[in-house]
C-alpha cells in the first residue's frame, strides 16, 4: 500500500514538472493550487486503473499497452473537460503532455523493475 501511494505521488510530481515546463512555454508565471490536487486525483485514478488492467495479465504486449494508453489518455481528456483544462491547454497539447508523462513514468518503472530483477539474480547467486 505504501509503495502504491509513493508511486502516485511520484507520478503527480512528474505531471507537475511537465505541466510547469509547458506553462513556461506559454509564458505563464504560476500554477493554481487546485491544479495540484486535480493532478493528484487523476493520477490516482490512472494508477489504480492500470493496476486493475495488470491483474488480468494480458499475454499480448501491444494489446495491453494499447488498453492502458486508451484508458489513461481517455481519463485525462474526460477530466480535462470536467476541470476546465481546455481553457488554458488545447486537446493536442494535453494529449502530448499525457504521452510524455506516461513515457517518463514507464521509464522510471522499468528502472525500478530492473533493480528488483538484479536483486533477485544476486539472491539466486548467493543461495
Amino acid at each position: 500500500m505504501r509503495k502504491n501511494i509513493l508511486n502516485i505521488f511520484a507520478m503527480t510530481g512528474v505531471t507537475l514538472v511537465v505541466l510547469s515546463l509547458v506553462a513556461l512555454c506559454y509564458k505563464a508565471s504560476f500554477l493554481c493550487l487546485d491544479t495540484v490536487f486535480q493532478a493528484l486525483g487523476v493520477n490516482a485514478l490512472i494508477y489504480f486503473g492500470v493496476y486493475i488492467i495488470n491483474k488480468f495479465e494480458i499475454p499480448y504486449f501491444l494489446l495491453e499497452t494499447t488498453i492502458k494508453l486508451i484508458y489513461s489518455i481517455g481519463l485525462i481528456l474526460v477530466f480535462g473537460m470536467i476541470f476546465g483544462w481546455y481553457s488554458s491547454l488545447s486537446v493536442t497539447v494535453l494529449t502530448v503532455m499525457s504521452l510524455a508523462i506516461l513515457l517518463i513514468c514507464t521509464f522510471l518503472d522499468t528502472l525500478s523493475i530492473n533493480g528488483e530483477i538484479n536483486e533477485i539474480n544476486q539472491l539466486i547467486q548467493d543461495k
Partner: protein, 148 residues
C-alpha cells in the same frame, strides 16, 4: 545454525534430527522444509501413475483447467488443482510466478526483463517460463527466506 552430516551405511533412508534450545522461526522453517521435501504428488503420464517428489518438480502449470507438473525433462498431469498445490508446496520453496504457474525456486537460474516488458525465468534445465511482474516481490521474499 550448525550443520553436521554423517554417512551411515546401516540405514536405508536418510533421517534428519534437529537439535534446538528454543523453537524459533528459523527452526520451524527448517522443519517445514524437511517435512515438505519428502512430499509426493500423485500424477499420471500416458496412462501410468507416478509419485513425484516435490523436490524434483521444476514448475507446475494450469492450462485449460488441467494441471501439469514439469520435472527436469518430463511432464505429468495431476488431478490436484493449482491452488491446492500452491498451498501444499508454499512452505517448501514453491512460489507463484503468474496466474497459472508456480515455480520451485531451487530450479531458478536467473530472471530476465524482455524487450516487450515481459519477464522470463530461466530454469536450471534451460527452460524458460513467463513471470508476471506482480509476483516479483514474492519471489524475492522466498529467496531471502531461503538464503537466511
Amino acid at each position: 545454525m550448525q550443520l553436521t552430516m554423517k554417512n551411515r551405511q546401516d540405514i536405508e533412508n536418510p533421517a534428519v534430527t534437529i537439535e534446538y534450545r528454543e523453537l524459533t522461526e528459523n527452526v520451524k522453517r527448517v522443519c517445514d522444509f524437511v517435512r515438505g521435501i519428502d512430499k509426493t504428488i500423485l500424477c499420471k503420464k500416458e496412462g501410468q501413475s507416478y509419485s513425484i517428489f516435490a523436490g524434483d518438480i521444476y514448475y507446475i502449470e494450469s492450462v485449460d483447467k488441467k494441471t501439469f507438473i514439469y520435472d527436469k525433462s518430463d511432464v505429468y498431469q495431476t488431478n490436484l488443482r493449482l491452488i491446492e498445490l500452491d498451498e501444499m508446496l508454499s512452505n517448501v520453496g514453491f512460489v507463484r510466478v503468474s496466474k497459472s504457474t508456480i515455480l520451485n525456486v531451487e530450479t531458478l537460474s536467473s530472471v530476465k526483463n524482455l524487450a516487450n516488458s515481459k519477464l522470463e525465468a530461466v530454469l536450471t534445465n534451460g527452460e524458460r517460463i513467463c513471470v508476471s511482474r506482480k509476483y516479483l516481490k514474492d519471489i524475492r521474499e522466498v529467496l531471502i527466506r531461503r538464503n537466511r
